[in-house]
Symmetry: C2
Subunit: 351 residues, 2 copies
């Protein structure tokens, strides 16, 4: 049925000379405006015209030219996902891949494109804001931005909507989507308390990282809720690495040999702690229970498998897109936009 229409002159550019809106209009016997209206779902179109256009679109296999559309409309129909290169380790964690999956899924419904941008040098970072704002994207999703990074503020200054995955600090001004780190940590520690653990230690992240302080806060809240005194000797600082987890565990064992539980602010640190515990001859979970955070694959592969706090990562990706689209659509750039999603404790053998 698909009649190949060759009457219209084949344009210069474009691989394979795809049909244009004008050709669709001609075939449907309507004007360009009407076709445009149909394509963009305006309701100011008669049923008759609409069906004619839809047929022509189908017959011609018409797909709108994105560049032309972006140029004419002054919008980009694209969103950038920006990742600082040093963080690409993140990239290899399901955490990140889940976020991307969520982002992609949510975006698919809006037919905006997803641009992936890794920043690998300070120079690139400098140019980034200018590039991004040059009509190339409608908004920016920023993954794992550190406190003190000026990027979000630069984007804001250029009027480019942005969303962070996670707060940089308590009073985060830029729109963000975060998981309930405090609540998750609290649940983890309450779980430990519920299992009758008495001396519960914690391995935290660097004090200047907001996530770390939230998870520590959750630990404290759980203790307080159970009416327990907090023992500073049961708190050791790690750096979210396995080695850091080992050092912290070592320290804890020296300071409080009688501890019978550890809540680590990340699975990787928990894995390090497990090694030290084993080396010290402590059995897990019999003598010492261990709980991690993030529910990364590491958690499933340690021996014993780690009880951990799962974050709704895919949903976070989706939420980031929703928050971003909201910001793009709205004029009031000032309104605070953010979402905090609940976590879930996944109980495994370690505690």
């Amino acid at each position: 049925m698909a009649v190949r229409d060759r009457r219209t002159p084949v344009a210069r550019g474009g691989r394979g000379g795809r049909p244009t809106l004008e050709q669709v209009a001609a075939r449907a016997g309507v004007g360009r405006g009407t076709v445009s209206r149909v394509i963009n779902g305006s309701d100011q179109v008669s049923e008759q015209a609409r069906t004619a256009v839809e047929r022509a679109v189908a017959e011609l296999g018409y797909v709108p030219n994105r560049a032309a559309r972006a140029l004419a409309a002054g919008s980009a129909d694209a969103v950038a996902l920006v990742i600082p290169e040093p963080e690409t380790r993140l990239f290899s964690e399901p955490y990140f891949s889940d976020i991307v999956r969520g982002v992609s899924a949510e975006l698919a419904e809006t037919d905006k494109q997803l641009l992936l941008t890794l920043i690998r040098s300070p120079r690139e970072r400098e140019r980034l804001a200018a590039y991004l704002s040059a009509d190339r994207v409608d908004g920016v999703l920023l993954v794992s931005v550190h406190e003190g990074d000026p990027l979000p503020e630069m984007l804001a200054a250029m009027g480019l909507p942005a969303v962070l995955n996670g707060r940089r600090a308590a009073g985060e001004a830029v729109p963000f989507v975060d998981s309930d780190n405090t609540g998750g940590a609290q649940a983890a520690v309450e779980h430990l308390i519920g299992r009758g653990r008495g001396a519960i230690a914690t391995i935290t992240g660097p004090a200047d990282m907001y996530v770390a302080s939230c998870r520590l806060a959750g630990y404290r809240q759980a203790l307080k809720a159970a009416d327990r005194e907090e023992d500073p000797g049961l708190v050791a600082v790690g750096d979210f690495t396995e080695e850091g987890g080992r050092r912290a565990m070592q320290e804890l064992l020296e300071r409080r040999p009688a501890l019978d539980a550890v809540f680590a602010a990340s699975d990787v640190m928990a894995a390090g702690a497990l090694q030290v515990l084993r080396a010290a001859g402590r059995t897990v979970p019999d003598e010492v229970a261990v709980v991690g955070f993030e529910d990364s694959p590491v958690a499933r592969h340690t021996d014993p498998p780690l009880t951990s706090v799962r974050q709704p990562t895919e949903e976070m990706g989706r939420a980031m897109v929703r928050v971003l689209l909201d910001g793009i659509a709205a004029k009031d750039a000032t309104r605070e936009r953010h979402v905090v999603l609940p976590t879930e404790l996944v109980v495994r053998a370690s505690g």
Copy 2:
């Protein structure tokens, strides 16, 4: 010094009214054509005009509008990275993240954009080729396409250059970048032979997967090179999952209790094998040496850590882009384009 020039009327579209080529031309006191030539690095420009333009560009903070450029030039200045959704597990492996890093790095030098496209339904896959070809991208990078997937052929039919990461079958017609699976496997097995192992078993992937057959071929070549007879009882088929690795190992132990080494076609399967070996009371590497493939993080976290075959993943990403750009630039779409990169054996405690 940057004088804000407000003489020119602020255009309707575009967030923040960024300067246009025309404004740069006016400021530099030249014509649009000359500015365009400077921007695009033509040598048909006098030194004087060039510096004038460069100054104006710097002063105005001019960044070309991608949409306009794409529209006028008929090219997209973008490349798509397409990932079938069921494969997003891949996504969480460093293998993939390294590829993306390589792709991104190589692309950064060409100022083409990277579009990330996950295919999550057959319907999306159908529409994909049409969408991609609608001037949206200049080429496509396809990750983990299975044998029998029509996508590469569809793209070829539309004249859209594509590159695969890995061959789908022996005589792969579509341009690809692959690692030397056969050579890597051979090196792994030769390593085992060199360590004096006598009964070397292998856990392969599904017979219909080309990677699997290559790695099996490497296993065989190593045996042959050492003048050893191949024992079919030492070959078990897995499916690249941990569970598959366990089953295969079980099978091997039952068939050939005397085996003293195992080469698994993936780290994940090797990890499964380790579990079974331990359960069976065999020590690794004393009684049985185990070698994996891929050098994924799993390899570092098993007990003992796995000897494995590392692939130059980041370089594969870079190579994919180079091959793709070559295909985009060339007219002769027929020419065969591919790269096969060498692997490297990483020796750890398991064998």
